[in-house]
Symmetry: C2
Subunit: 345 residues, 2 copies
DNA sequence: TTGAAAGCGATACCAC
DNA sequence: GTGGTATCGCTTTCAA
């Protein structure tokens, strides 16, 4: 109490030093545990630290030492899509285990929101940035290049990244799924997903999918890209729209498993049998797939590991270790039983 | 290039000022737009800002002005539980719209992880803190009280909060659900949820539930608290364990809808009809409930609004407006059709 | 309308 | 082992 100290009421290092009867420098050394002081001095200082409840001001530390902070800016499109929630969880855990903090930015799939967030977060001198996607606004690119800090672009693998990239090739992933469905005999396929102002991984995936299907004598007859979250209910009503417009589809591919599940529920409500009447393929192998009676045809992507890998690449770079800048985390097609082999005609 | 400037390569305010031929102070005034300079000067400065790609160092701003940052520390138990993902989304959007940033802390439901995170995040001089839950480690409480910044405890309504609180009374919520199920005629009820080292809202809810059921001549015959995430698969295998140990249960209450859905899938796999053979009640009214064929008996909680409300209370406090410190956001029982009225005996 | 000087809380560097 | 002093990039304060 009765603090004649500075502008705020926080305990500073010099107060600790004064109370302990040593200089700021000595107190500083003790707190950093870097040695160069006697045990007696250490005890004296630590005693006052406890008594006064001293908490260091890391702003000043960064500032004085001109070292970077332990902030890592992490941009994520949205958390309604479970995929990104998992990725974020992977990132934050790994970062935390290295003593770093996540500064979150939810960009709502727009480049302008991302650009604004980048400008702001850079002003806080983060140690690095982890960004979802490989498309960024031109001015964002300028800032990122000038920032001089490690950057990891995730999810949508960028083979010529700003700095580093980890993820998968979504074109290939879409292509593989398309080829698989065509291989099963499907020819009249629909797609339900979401879209936003900015091109993203789902767009790329769809392009690969379409290429494989059309190249295999099939057709992606109808594509529906909703301006919504890639979640259960959009899958449900999207399927309703799709099947109303194109009732003869033999199969539907979805942006992710959540949407696919929503779609299956719509089909069930209409008495459509899966895969008897219509094939259903999801994407991402989300947790819900593990409890469904029929294995959902999907594609496994190690979301959590992807997040962890991104954080690890970041930490390696920060500690000066060599890093492989582009890392493909891979995916795996899961045949499942919500599509069937039609017996090639 | 050829920067004879300081230790790092970043453009500083004085470089801008020099280039523009004015003093630091004038440049500072222009950048803050606080007036007190001529239009010509403004143009001169802004021109150099653009040319040099100047980004302010907000660390220095906070430091010099001894004002607080625009960081808000937000602690969340885990993101595998969709409930918290929604709350976080609500918080971050609202915060962002006020120009503030989320510094995330995933605490894994442990007080020690929370304590460590609090210590770290406080050292970065955040403007405020939003914490999930009302239980904190003793030393965390000390730090929080000394921090002198606004704190909002969310989710589990704290009627005597550290500073502010928004959420619901989980005891009441559990009680209402218990009374409802007993009212339907269920007497031999099971529970599947998760538990962790720290008491939390789910624990409180369960206590209220048990009280209502036992007070109504029923019994919560078997309670299962898994050391896992409150998600689909734990709901599935938890139900298996529960029904193996207590096959005669007439109803199961779950920690949330995701677990309830997992449980329903297990029941279906065993040929059990819901609600014919067994009643199922979830909690939280999660998005998946909207696409299921039978309305899941659940309890609606406005998760997103809860997050937004927390952010709003924080912003009001920071701008000095009066704030009602304890805000009950309410819940609503959804009868659904996964339980039935047994016809009171 | 503008600028010079002091200072925020810590660390780096150099003396003792 | 210990302490003095300059310094980080910016704002505050006061003077011109």
């Amino acid at each position: 109490m009765a603090d004649k100290s500075s502008r705020n009421n926080k305990v500073s290092l010099s107060q600790v030093a004064n109370a302990a009867g040593v200089s700021k420098m000595t107190a500083s050394r003790v707190l950093r545990g870097e040695g160069g002081y006697s045990e007696k001095t250490r005890d004296l200082v630590m005693q006052q630290v406890d008594r006064l409840g001293y908490l260091p001001n890391r702003l000043a530390t960064v500032f004085a030492g001109d070292k970077s902070s332990t902030f890592i800016g992490v941009s994520i499109p949205d958390l309604g899509n479970e995929v990104f929630a998992q990725v974020l969880e992977g990132i934050d855990h790994k970062l935390g285990s290295f003593g770093h903090q996540t500064v979150l930015g939810l960009t709502q799939h727009t480049e302008t929101a991302e650009e604004d967030w980048i400008r702001t977060v850079l002003s806080w001198q983060p140690a690095g940035l982890i960004l979802t996607g490989r498309f960024h606004a031109p001015r964002a690119m300028d800032m990122l290049r000038n920032a001089g800090i490690p950057i990891v672009e995730i999810w949508d693998l960028n083979s010529s990244p700003l700095d580093m990239s980890v993820g998968i090739n979504h074109f290939d992933a879409g292509f593989d799924m398309g080829r698989y469905l065509v291989g099963c005999g499907y020819r009249n396929i629909g797609y339900v997903g979401t879209s936003h102002d900015t091109a993203n991984a789902a767009t790329t995936r769809l392009a690969g999918f379409v290429k494989a299907v059309t190249g295999g004598d099939g057709a992606v007859t109808k594509q529906l890209c909703l301006h919504d979250t890639a979640a259960y209910y959009p899958g449900y009503y999207g399927t309703e729209q799709l099947l109303t417009a194109a009732p003869t589809l033999d199969c539907i591919f979805y942006q992710n498993d959540a949407m696919a599940f929503g779609g299956m529920q719509y089909c069930a409500s209409k008495g459509l049998n899966v895969p008897g009447d219509i094939g259903i393929a999801g994407w991402g192998d989300l947790p819900i797939a593990a409890v469904l009676p029929k294995r959902l045809t999907s594609m496994h992507v190690p979301h959590l590991r992807l997040g962890q890998a991104a954080a690890e690449m970041m930490m390696s770079r920060l500690s000066g270790e060599p890093v492989q800048p582009v890392r493909d985390i891979g995916f795996q097609l899961i045949p499942g039983s919500t599509v069937k082999n039609l017996g090639l005609s």
